[in-house]
């Protein structure tokens, strides 16, 4: 039997990116005992990589902006598959959450009159993203981290949760191991908040770090919670494509917000060729107008490069497939051209996009102030995730809450850039508060050691395989390549059926994978454990994608290339059936209240 240390909290927050930190701060502010589990060191979570900014209708740059416009933009971008209540709360509360960061020491870029500067981004009608150059995520996570360390929160660094523990249905804790020693830690807590981020590591080409293995999605699923919208995966249009070792690293949308344009190998700005009907009235129809928009001309409409990410990614994919791509299989993203329009353009680019400048200089030997970048789509974000109540962020399982990328609803079929950082703040805070309330109102948690011991034994199994078992790395790489090829940016029935067969075979292999060495900081072992989560989320994505026989937002089917109104009325739910297999259900989207419907109508023009 495995030994474990017991730790008690009122609220346990799993994940220490923006959502987890904000949840922990909110819970601690109510006076309960809070534990914060980080898979890595504090301050290193994926939020640190966010570049462009956090969307909030503060109206500092364009006073025509309001929460109503932000709400309508978010719903339009999500193709109306969103949880409208979350979209409403998000648009209303984001400005306060950003201003709160300033009170905690964040230093955003400034307007000429000294307020928080806001920039243009895809799908947002007005300049709305509070930002710090192109390192907004770092500013946000550091601000939250530096505030949190003075709030009496117990931080568990480099600890990974392997299973949630339940008393009947209610979640009452979690079993985890620490990386350094490989020892087990049993958490009991009145409520648990999942804030584990996304699933990007299920794909080969991704902007996501190694931690993004769908832990929260999988933990919740195995505890009986509903997942929804899993077919909606966002492929960000602009990742690096060369050299191979950096393939997938993000190139911020901010490059296009600052005037960067996309061209194919013929030098043509191909985005003008394909502007969707529902965005036509908001989109520039010539290059001159598009440029004026990026320079703050309020009478100009935005250039087609700033259409939603799903659309831009597919246009790039089309150019490459039809032979008009760049030498390494992308297209050109050119910010250097602005020297034709601006004095001191090179200095301007370095000031506005410092990390992009260094990233290309250091990793690709390319000076973006003189040379176009080569870019292509990269797996970036999952809109789908754990189904939550819009107000409280509680999942369909009592005592279990979720916030940030691992929760679903706000973004519908496609997320607008900048809506993620504000999502983390708005719903992290709500999840923390409601989890604390739940923990206070419910009886003290009772954790049975039996389930914890079984979880520990299962986690140690990879050390005990006889013979020369297969290492987990190869299985993980194969899974990533398979998902990229068969369930990637363009999908079809036959390939996805094949993916299900391959997943079954990979699961079988994963069950027999073995690792060498001991339990201390052993990445082979960690990979073997992460693999279980990756297999669960990959199956959920594939099944949901098969079920949705239309194309919408981040989900594109070659065999059903158009939107189908019949599919606009429901979300696809994935949950574990009584027999342990994955079950699907079509869950009707509740009708929108009249006042919100009126906002959508008024903003359509």
């Amino acid at each position: 039997m495995a030994d474990f240390e017991r730790v008690e909290h009122d609220v346990l927050v799993i994940g220490a990116g923006g959502a987890g930190l904000r949840a922990a701060i909110a819970a601690a502010a109510t006076g309960v005992r809070v534990g914060l589990v980080c898979k890595s060191l504090l301050g290193k979570a994926h939020t640190v990589m966010a570049e462009g900014g956090a969307a909030a209708a503060m109206g500092n740059v364009d006073d025509r902006d309001s929460w109503r416009v932000h709400f309508a933009d978010t719903m339009r971008g999500g193709q109306y598959m969103n949880n409208w209540r979350m979209a409403e709360l998000h648009a209303q509360e984001a400005p306060d959450r950003i201003r709160e960061l300033e009170a905690w020491g964040a230093v955003f870029d400034r307007t000429p009159d000294g307020r928080i500067l806001q920039r243009n981004f895809g799908g947002h009608r007005y300049p709305r993203l509070a930002h710090v150059g192109d390192r907004t995520g770092l500013e946000m996570i550091r601000t939250l981290q530096d505030h949190a360390i003075h709030q009496g929160i117990d931080v568990h660094m480099e600890v990974t949760v392997i299973q949630l523990l339940q008393d009947g249905e209610r979640v009452v804790g979690a079993m985890a191991y620490d990386r350094e020693r490989g020892r087990f830690r049993l958490f009991s807590s009145g409520a648990v908040v999942l804030a584990t981020g996304g699933i990007g590591r299920a794909f080969d080409i991704t902007s996501n770090s190694w931690e993004y293995t769908g832990d929260g999605h999988s933990l919740a699923y195995h505890a009986g919670a509903d997942l929804i919208d899993m077919e909606f995966v966002q492929f960000h249009p602009t990742g690096m494509v060369w050299p191979p070792s950096v393939r997938g690293i993000l190139v911020t949308e901010g490059v296009r917000g600052e005037g960067g344009v996309l061209r194919n190998s013929e030098g043509k700005r191909f985005m003008f060729d394909d502007i969707p009907e529902n965005y036509r009235s908001q989109t520039a129809d010539n290059e001159e107008e598009g440029w004026r928009y990026t320079q703050g001309d309020k009478s100009a409409r935005r250039p087609p490069e700033l259409l939603t990410r799903d659309h831009v990614a597919r246009c790039i994919q089309r150019e490459v497939r039809e032979g008009r791509g760049s030498p390494h299989g992308g297209v050109y993203l050119d910010i250097a051209w602005i020297k034709e329009r601006l004095p001191k353009a090179a200095e301007h680019i370095k000031k506005k996009l410092p990390s992009m400048y260094h990233q290309f200089m250091q990793l690709a030997n390319i000076d973006i102030t003189t040379t176009p970048m080569e870019v292509g789509p990269t797996t970036h974000y999952i809109m789908g995730g754990i189904r939550v109540d819009g107000d409280s962020q509680m999942t369909s399982v009592p005592g279990l809450f979720a916030a940030g990328e691992c929760a679903a609803g706000l973004h519908g079929a496609n997320r607008l850039g900048g809506n993620s950082l504000s999502d983390l703040l708005v719903f992290g805070k709500r999840a923390g508060e409601y989890a604390a309330q739940f923990a206070r109102e419910q009886p003290a948690p009772r954790v049975e050691a039996g389930a914890a011991e079984a979880a520990a034994a299962s986690a140690l199994a990879p050390f005990e395989r006889d013979g020369s078992p297969e290492a987990p790395y190869a299985i993980q790489h194969e899974l990533q390549r398979m998902m990229q090829d068969l369930v990637g940016i363009v999908r079809q029935e036959g390939e996805m059926q094949q993916a299900l067969d391959r997943l079954a075979a990979l699961s079988e292999r994963a069950q027999h994978a073995g690792v060498h060495g001991n339990r201390e900081y052993n990445p082979g072992w960690h990979t073997a454990l992460d693999l279980r989560h990756l297999l669960t989320v990959s199956e959920a994505i594939t099944l949901a994608a098969l079920e949705r026989k239309e194309s919408r937002g981040g989900h594109f089917r070659d065999d059903y290339p158009d939107k189908d109104a019949a599919y606009a009325t429901f979300n696809i739910v994935v949950r574990r059936g009584a027999d342990g297999t994955m079950q699907l259900e079509r869950r009707p989207i509740p009708p929108m209240p009249d006042d919100l419907q009126a906002i959508i109508e008024e903003q359509k023009s």
Binding site: R99, G105, S245, G524
Partner: protein, 248 residues
């Protein structure tokens, strides 16, 4: 491309030795790619800390050919061709395993620095006004990704092991960002002098040259802080006045 030899420090809790591995190096590869290749092929339990692989999180700090570097941002083609590459953990912190060190001391130090304390809001809606020119300096310090390479090369920590007394360049930058924040009202100068031992820094600028974010640590953060401490506590005129008035 040809196979390259990597001499990687393997071992636990300070005990260890270099182990040789050979792996293929391809165009554009960084050192962290090579470590991952070795991990996937022949050393499944090779411990290495990393996250973003894009120079943004500051997790993969190590000593490559004896130089403090982020593994994810060190391209193979900037190292001498045809020669073996050595990779060691940071030496200024307790060793855990292979390339991983225990950097928890840094987290403890940060907690001891007085937190950000803003002045009352400037506007009725609870917001403040700051000019871009007044925040440029602080924004430079806030670029820090907490890779702790500056701590690793600081001789006060690395050679003299003054971890109990001296907070190191990272936290002098942190303190500077707070002290020079236009909204902050807290005073950290006495702490810097008495508890954080800013005087130990003798401006060798090793930290500045190690910083992957190119923060001018010594010139922009440490020296101005030293000047403030001197102005506050060692001003000869003030000292004379105090002496004449019989005050300490």
């Amino acid at each position: 491309m040809a196979s390259t030899t990597f001499k990687i420090w393997r071992g636990e809790r300070g005990q260890g030795a270099f182990t040789d591995y050979a792996t293929e190096v391809t165009e554009g590869m960084v050192v962290l790619d090579a470590v991952h290749q070795i991990q996937a092929s022949e050393a499944g339990d090779l411990a290495v800390r990393w996250n973003c692989k894009a120079g943004k999180c500051g997790s993969c700090s190590a000593e490559i050919n004896g130089r403090p570097k982020l593994m994810c941002m060190t391209r193979m083609d900037e190292l001498p061709a045809g020669e073996a590459v050595t990779i060691e953990p940071m030496r200024a912190f307790p060793h855990v395993r292979d390339l991983v060190t225990d950097v928890s001391w840094n987290y403890e130090v940060k907690k001891k620095i007085k937190k950000f304390t803003p002045r009352p809001p400037d506007a009725p809606d609870g917001t403040w006004r700051m000019a871009q020119a007044d925040v440029d300096r602080v924004q430079e310090f806030r670029k820090c990704i907490e890779c702790y390479l500056c701590q690793d090369v600081c001789h006060v920590l690395r050679d003299h092991h003054k971890h109990d007394e001296f907070i190191g360049p990272r936290f002098l930058v942190y303190a500077a960002a707070l002290e020079m924040h236009p909204l902050d009202t807290e005073d950290r100068l006495r702490d810097l002098k008495d508890n954080h031992s800013i005087g130990y820094c003798n401006i060798t600028k090793c930290c500045t040259s190690a910083c992957p974010e190119h923060i001018t640590i010594t010139d922009n953060a440490i020296i101005p802080l030293k000047e403030r401490v001197v102005d506050e506590f060692y001003d000869p005129v003030v000292k004379l006045v105090r002496l004449l008035r019989g005050k300490k």
